[in-house]
Amino acid sequence: MKLAHMGVGLAMMGLAALTAGKAKAEDQELKIGVVAAESGSFVSAGNTIAAAAKLAAAKINDDGGIKVGDKTYKIKLYIRDNRTDVNVTIAAAQELVNDIGVSAIWGTETHDFSIAMAKITGPAKVLQFSGNSSLGSALNTTSVAPDGWLHYAFQTEPQEWQRSGSTARGVLALLTPLMKTKPVHSVVLVGNDATGQYLSSHYVKALEGDGQQVDLVKYPPDTTDFLPILTRIKGMHPDIVHFWYNGDSTLTAFPQAEQIHVAPAYFLFGVDPGIYEQRHLTASVPVTMSCVPECWGGPKRPDVDQYFAKYFGSGASKGPQSSVSLLYYDYFFMYAKALAEAGKVDDPDAVVNNLLKMSYQGVVSPVPLTFNSNHQVTFATEVCVVKPNTSDDFTCTTEQPPAAPPAGDPGG
């Protein structure tokens, strides 16, 4: 009987110890949310965020977690598929912020859902890292002020005039020596949606700033047969056709353009050299591509290759925008550093201030990442050209962003 009592006592003590251990572990858990389109029409962009977040969280946890004050926190990820649907995005944000209580959210990349999501993350003081350009159009001195509705939101892709400036410069620098005559006439073909309108407005100004005469041609976002539009563009006799911005649409339109020889040179936005090679795409003329910050499939670089080996090794799909995953990977470490410097996890204002002060040398990016006072990041763009009639012979250049917006571009 005594033995039985002792057994029960020991079992209870064990249970108590286990419960205490669990409570301690829960205390040291840092909850981070990811809202990404893992299904639906924006899946190419969404997959990169989720895959990079898993990889970064695993690396941080394997290295012992984040030391904040006298505690060490392990990251617990809560990934939600927004199904490229605004109602599901809002529901996911509500759940992550109010039910789970995450400290930060990565995403969403999808259209202007990020703005609607910021209406939930802002009042709850949850940091939001979104690459979506529509968010960039709303970030300004007033909205990011301490009492502004975007104080806790960060745009994780550079200001569009910067990216457009470095991209346009890189494209022209690479193509000019390969063409018989200096290119002077560009046609920008862009999907007519929120992101397309925003991106093309800056890119056209950047090209004009570099001396190009530019015609802007818009297509409905769901277009699959580009031949009528491309035939019209061919009639404009362009030197370069620039395909913006949706990688999936570009991959549909580009082979059709090459089929009817629309232009003597092309630029494909949203298409990594890796996907160009993988799909065995070829063209009889030089084709350029750009990536932020580094190209997957570009010239070999050990740190980038190592990253992509891990990235694809973790099961990430080889989509047209895989290079963007690098950014989200780096931002995890940047956030972790800001959190560690803040000394506590429940002070989002301190984390915001630290992020704004920080110049972070990314794990893979050769240029330090910094956020400006409007919570927008700055970094260089890599532009590559593939030799005609090959799928894998790339020459690349890294272009720094211009110091100021070109004439006629209000910035943003």
Partner: protein, 356 residues
């Protein structure tokens, strides 16, 4: 000599003829809700009121809000399609008119939700009436194509509307101003506001269906030339039902705008409109709870079941085929007839047992 005159004098004529005089004139020919239907209504309403108290979490509460404002717009479509028999695949566009009216009024004139609400509903009603004008000349699939084009045109206009419409990026609005200290930025309160609007929508739909006007619409649906022949101004009533339907869509649209607090043209394109048409067909256009059930099926169930959007679309396609073939009254109509059949069988069995 007619057949009537040849009837045997031993058979009383009244035995074979119904007695419409037993009902008030305005109710003739329209079935009154049964006790079971009343009970069902009260049960559904009680369930919806109780939903937040079961701690569903913010995710499902948020989805419930989306489901409800969609259902409100669907009640308009149910009157137009279910009662007057005119299908439209441009209903999301009319929602957009309501949403954009509110957003533009907020951005240009600083008007809040409560001030914009009647104007948004009115403009949506006007827009729906204008879109309905071609239905006086064309019908069926031809009119459906016109409504589809309306949606596409609206999106083009909004996308290229510059700063006035916010172009493709869209417009932002603030939260709904509080009333009696109730803050609608709180999700529970927003849910109850939408639920109140839904209850009013259901009540108005019920009142219209059971009014002489509902009966007129019913006659237009069943046989428009005959309705015209007996002196009904079918054109006027058709435009009238479009306007009423538009007001419902405007209410749904403004609630959506103030729930998301950001709107963009993509919300009101042809594809969202097709989804609304799908919801009304799945749920059932004529039964009172059809629109609500349709909205639940499309907005709520895929999330509950973790269905991928592609799988969902396949399921909707298969579901729509099954509904058309097996349940012409939609899922709600099917459930209702199943219940009635069950009740009838039960009564028959009870009667049989009583007799034995």
């Amino acid at each position: 000599m007619t057949n009537h005159n040849m009837q045997s004098p031993t058979q009383p004529v009244t035995a074979r003829v119904s007695l419409p005089e037993a009902k008030p004139r305005y109710m003739r020919g329209i079935k009154e809700p049964t006790r079971e239907e009343w009970c069902l209504g009260i049960l559904i309403l009680a369930g919806l009121i109780a939903f937040p108290f079961f701690d569903p979490g913010y995710r499902f509460l948020s989805l419930a809000v989306s489901t409800i404002f969609t259902a409100i717009a669907l009640y308009g479509l149910s009157l137009q399609f279910g009662q007057a028999g005119i299908m439209s695949v441009g209903h999301a566009g009319i929602m957009g008119v309501g949403g954009y009216t509110a957003a533009i009024l907020a951005n240009q004139l600083g008007l809040g939700f409560w001030e914009s609400l009647p104007l948004a509903m009115l403009l949506s009603a006007l827009a729906a009436a204008v879109v309905g004008l071609p239905s006086l000349r064309v019908g069926g699939q031809h009119y459906i194509i016109i409504t589809f084009c309306f949606c596409a045109l609206l999106v083009i206009a909004l996308t290229n509307g510059g700063t006035f419409t916010g172009a493709a990026t869209g417009l932002d609005v603030g939260p709904i101003p509080g009333v009696f200290g109730i803050r609608f930025a709180k999700l529970d309160n927003m849910y109850f506001l939408c639920l109140a609007a839904l209850t009013i929508s259901i009540a108005v739909t019920f009142a219209i269906v059971h009014s002489p006007y509902g009966r007129t619409l019913w006659s237009i649906r069943e046989n428009e030339p005959l309705a015209r022949a007996v002196g009904i101004n079918t054109n006027l009533h058709k435009i009238g039902v479009f306007a009423i339907s538009g007001a419902f869509a405007g209410l749904g649209g403004i609630l959506q705008t103030y729930y998301l607090r950001h709107i963009s043209p993509e919300l009101y394109g042809a594809f969202p409109s097709l989804y609304l048409a799908l919801m009304i067909m799945l749920g059932g256009a004529r039964p009172l709870y059809g629109p609500l059930i349709g909205s639940i099926i499309v907005n709520f169930l895929p999330e509950l079941g973790g269905l991928d959007p592609i799988d969902s679309r396949i399921a909707y396609g298969v579901g729509l085929l099954l509904v058309i073939l097996l349940l012409p009254g939609g899922v709600s109509g099917g459930l209702l007839s199943l219940y009635r059949r069950g009740t009838k069988t039960r009564h028959r069995l009870e009667k049989g047992r009583g007799l034995s």
